[in-house]
Symmetry: C2
Subunit: 233 residues, 2 copies
DNA sequence: TCAACAAATGACCAATCAGTCACTTTTTGA
DNA sequence: TCAAAAAGTGACTGATTGGTCATTTGTTGA
């Protein structure tokens, strides 16, 4: 498994927590990692609490000591943490950038690297996030719509500024943000699928760098060939 | 319900079929429409055969006379028909076009109209298609991957030709096709969601025409502002 | 050492639902 | 008209699984 732990464990050295508290947090952490792995592998409905408990090396009942809300609470907590990571990634990418282009490319590169390091998370988000966004259960739908909107807002801010500076074509900023996120997710999945299926030896941007260059060119410069001299930069 | 029937009913006048055969096809049709509606509303797992049977006004057992494979056969048949429609749409859009741009814009417009007329189908595809693409069940995954690849191939052919004619920047054609499909689906969903949620009075390309113009500009011309004179065409 | 408390456990319960099949209703054709 | 065949039906079954709780195991501090 190539996946790394997603989360900050610095609290483990913190002296403000007693041993008992630290142990409790470690057990919570183990349960969440197990839940993430099983949800990613099976999807929300096919994941069973028995398997999560087994993978975390606890009895099923113990899960309820730590997550009284049961399956749903585990699921939402897993996503809260994933989404928090990604929000941070967006903010950091644009933080010190000199131009929109620079921030944008940093964001793409960091995202592709992030997805590559956390494949199971990408699968999980792909499998469930879209589905939940249009869930018949209004609570679930609201949770995912809220987070989705937060991502959009973060990106929209930078795009709007770039439009006002004249760097970017005057298009509706929010729609542009939506497009960028969609493309990012789509290409990351495309790479993952090609890699997994690999029926044909398909060259499909083996490095984050190449994926970034493709998406950056396509979205920033467009598909149309402007120079008759086959203008590669 | 704004959804129209998706499918060809011309066989109903065909003299090659007996009354019994025509009646049987009509009942099959009713069951498939009911299945599509319930799958779209509830998603694959939460849809029950009881509800499909009830909506189609048949007993549950009768479904098995027409679809011995049960839930799975209903589900796959629904998708076979949706995918066949969309393949036809791609082929027709590029058929008589003078340039890539013209065919591309026809394709976008036709797609947005198609999705608008068949909202429940769009929801169904969104909810299930992505999910099935990475399903742990290899049979399901293969079914969806096969259809997905067919779409890609259809589009890739036209893009490759446009690249060879010098109309389109020399990028990997298949990746471009993937991007186009992703954007189309993404924007269609964005419009649908904004319309449904409508918390804020969001202007988000109310007509297929506007959605087409946005996506066409963004993908063909790119985000970067080339003229300092705020070049609106 | 041991009593009191906390934590962990997994057998069990209740609900759900795909699929079956014995029975009823309808159609057919002689 | 009516018997035989075809079509339709929904109560039932078996399997699954989220959640519960009485019991067991471990920890603490006097």
């Amino acid at each position: 498994m190539t996946n790394q732990s997603l989360f900050d464990e610095s609290f483990m050295e913190s002296p403000v927590l007693s041993r008992k508290e630290r142990e409790r947090l470690m057990r919570r952490r183990a349960m969440l990692e197990a839940a993430r792995a099983v949800f990613a592998e099976k999807g929300y409905v096919d994941a069973t609490l028995d398997e999560i408990a087994q993978r975390a090396e606890f009895g099923k009942g113990t899960l309820y000591n730590y997550f009284p809300g049961g399956k749903d609470e585990l699921f939402f907590t897993v996503f809260e943490e994933i989404f928090a990571q990604f929000r941070q990634l967006i903010a950091q990418s644009f933080a010190g950038a000199a131009s929109f282009r620079e921030g944008f490319e940093t964001f793409l590169r960091a995202s592709f690297e992030f997805f590559e390091q956390h494949r199971d998370m990408l699968l999980l988000v792909t499998r469930e996030s879209q589905r939940m966004l249009v869930s018949p259960d209004p609570e679930r739908a609201a949770f995912f719509q809220k987070h989705h909107e937060t991502f959009l807002e973060l990106l929209t801010r930078h795009i709007q500024a770039a439009i006002e500076r004249g760097e970017v074509r005057p298009l509706p900023a929010e729609a542009v943000a939506h497009t960028i996120l969609g493309n990012l997710h789509g290409l990351a999945m495309h790479r993952l699928l090609k890699e997994c299926v690999a029926s044909k030896p398909q060259h499909v941007f083996p490095t984050p760098e190449e994926a970034t260059r493709f998406l950056s060119t396509l979205l920033l410069e467009g598909l149309l060939n402007r120079t008759q001299t086959t203008g590669k930069s």
